[in-house]
Symmetry: C2
Amino acid sequence: MLNNRKIKLSEILEKKENKGDLKNKLTILFKPENIFYLTNFWGEGITIIFEDGKNNSQTKLLVPKLEYTRAINTSKECDVISSDRGIAIINELMSLIKEDNIIFSDTNDYDIINKIQSKAGSKNLIIDNNLLYEIRQIKDPNEIDNIKNASKIIDKLFQIATNEIKKNISEEQIQSILVYEAMKLGARFPAYAYTSNPLIVASGNNASFPHAETSNKKIASGELIVIDITLCYNHYVSDATRTFALGNIPQEMKEIYEVVKLSQKKGIECIKKTSNFSDIDAVCRNAIIDKKLGDYFTHSTGHGIGLEVHEPPWIRSNFNSKIKENMTVTIEPGIYIKNKFGVRIEDSLLITKKKKDIDNNLLGFDYQNFHSFSKELLVL
Amino acid sequence: MLNNRKIKLSEILEKKENKGDLKNKLTILFKPENIFYLTNFWGEGITIIFEDGKNNSQTKLLVPKLEYTRAINTSKECDVISSDRGIAIINELMSLIKEDNIIFSDTNDYDIINKIQSKAGSKNLIIDNNLLYEIRQIKDPNEIDNIKNASKIIDKLFQIATNEIKKNISEEQIQSILVYEAMKLGARFPAYAYTSNPLIVASGNNASFPHAETSNKKIASGELIVIDITLCYNHYVSDATRTFALGNIPQEMKEIYEVVKLSQKKGIECIKKTSNFSDIDAVCRNAIIDKKLGDYFTHSTGHGIGLEVHEPPWIRSNFNSKIKENMTVTIEPGIYIKNKFGVRIEDSLLITKKKKDIDNNLLGFDYQNFHSFSKELLVL
């Protein structure tokens, strides 16, 4: 399995880059998600994939000493070497470079690239940050199973939330309960540097921030509560959002909920009719613009999910991104009314086989929604 | 408070860099911890500090549209501007650059630096990744209070752990309980990309990995259990470790526990006798080497804590790093016996005022241990 990924990497690289003979090459990866993708080890280290130009490929996993035995035990299809940390590990990396073409796909680091460039001399340096994503965008059955499991846990948490949401419970209290239940079900929360909250529980005015911080605010009757859960299972992320109501809510909230629900529904259905994600963004956005609410949908429509919370493909306006089988994405329109409330509805979905019409023409794609939790407005 | 930080930044820069007149300058920061440190906003964005050379300083916080209102509400002493994401935000940033000296302190990103360099033309570019850390290393009273609160929560969790550790409970079960209790006490878990577990619960052989992954392994009698908790309170991190025993453990484990305990004690006491962190590493390491166990202490002795889990100063051998008042650091020696067991004991501490002898000579520093939880071997 890991070997197939390396072969794909080599093929994509040869096809994309037009810089002479790339057979004799070496790809260097630093990010834990890429290291995991190619070696099955999740931790601190550097992965190097060597190809000698005679179809011989070799993978080395370079880790700090304290990770050596764990790397030996969990990695697959690679040789593990250890080194001291810091500059020592970069020097060890440089001592391994013999190939003519050096490829970076997950670092833009000026110092590292300069150091390796000066050591590599006249060698060909290629920096292409889309390379790994091109492969990772297309999920294999095992990856899809993990995302499916993560999604099932999220649906269970929405059910738990419906029991927990009540007057005077704080957003943080609900968050604690959901995190506890998630962890008992085997989920973990992926690292996301822009917040310290593992999930979003945002009520009332707090829900008017798309990236709300879960707070000690108590939930009151007559409010909408946005619950946005991102969690992972075996390192694979799913991401979904539901918006609940507590008690009697004003008509305006109900109406806006229905606009978002329709927007999201249209976006999902659009998968069957197009081969470009920007069309899905347009459909979701137009459903909201039609109601003169376009200014209140302040973010993009969706993103890929996988080893990261946000990864390609992107579902954005004016951003060409081809739909392909076995991609996994979110569709998540929202409307945010400043100082008042917010609504977001999000599912994670799998893109499945293209459909054909009776004349055998391709007709967009099909999909599988990873989530079955209701999208009707639940008034608790 | 934020303004003091900006003044310090300017002063340190003028002192460190010897590249002509730096009065007219602009510092660009991308990392959420630095943005928070200088604007009080934690989220996605870019912070720019302008100085016109006439002692007029101005701070701008550039955020994606979806973060605008939250940034307005939570930021202090800065102007908030919003932009679309991606290349648009970099273009917006570039349009703001008028100053002669452009300083980067938390990015090495090749593309961003190249882009800004090409726009900036003949302007002076300074990349100094230690600049912000030099200021952040020294904590103010409010920061110390937050770390103290985080530490108190960790001590409470150790107490809870002593009640929960029993035969046949899994590492993951203990982890779930501790995470739940931590969150109820207001703690959060900082992003750390190299693991998906929020804390380490490692028993038996699993404890022989310094960076163990908490697993579904069940705890057995006769084992040591390492519990390493890193959590934050108001974004400030504390980090501590205790090693517990369940039932009758072999004499070897008891002896090694005492070696680590003595090593850690000597390391802490060494604060009073030195002004360089490498001496603390040496004292901890020698206490272990004395027992012919040096090869089993496979990591450095400690690190700074603050807005990040690991930040300067570093407590490492052969790494000169001056001790200063109001630094906050961990001291955490460990011994790891492959395929058998592991022991680590870690405290987070505050460096306090230098002591003087009767002749008024400086005699190293004093300290305050943030943790009061017992370091005796607790046999549960």
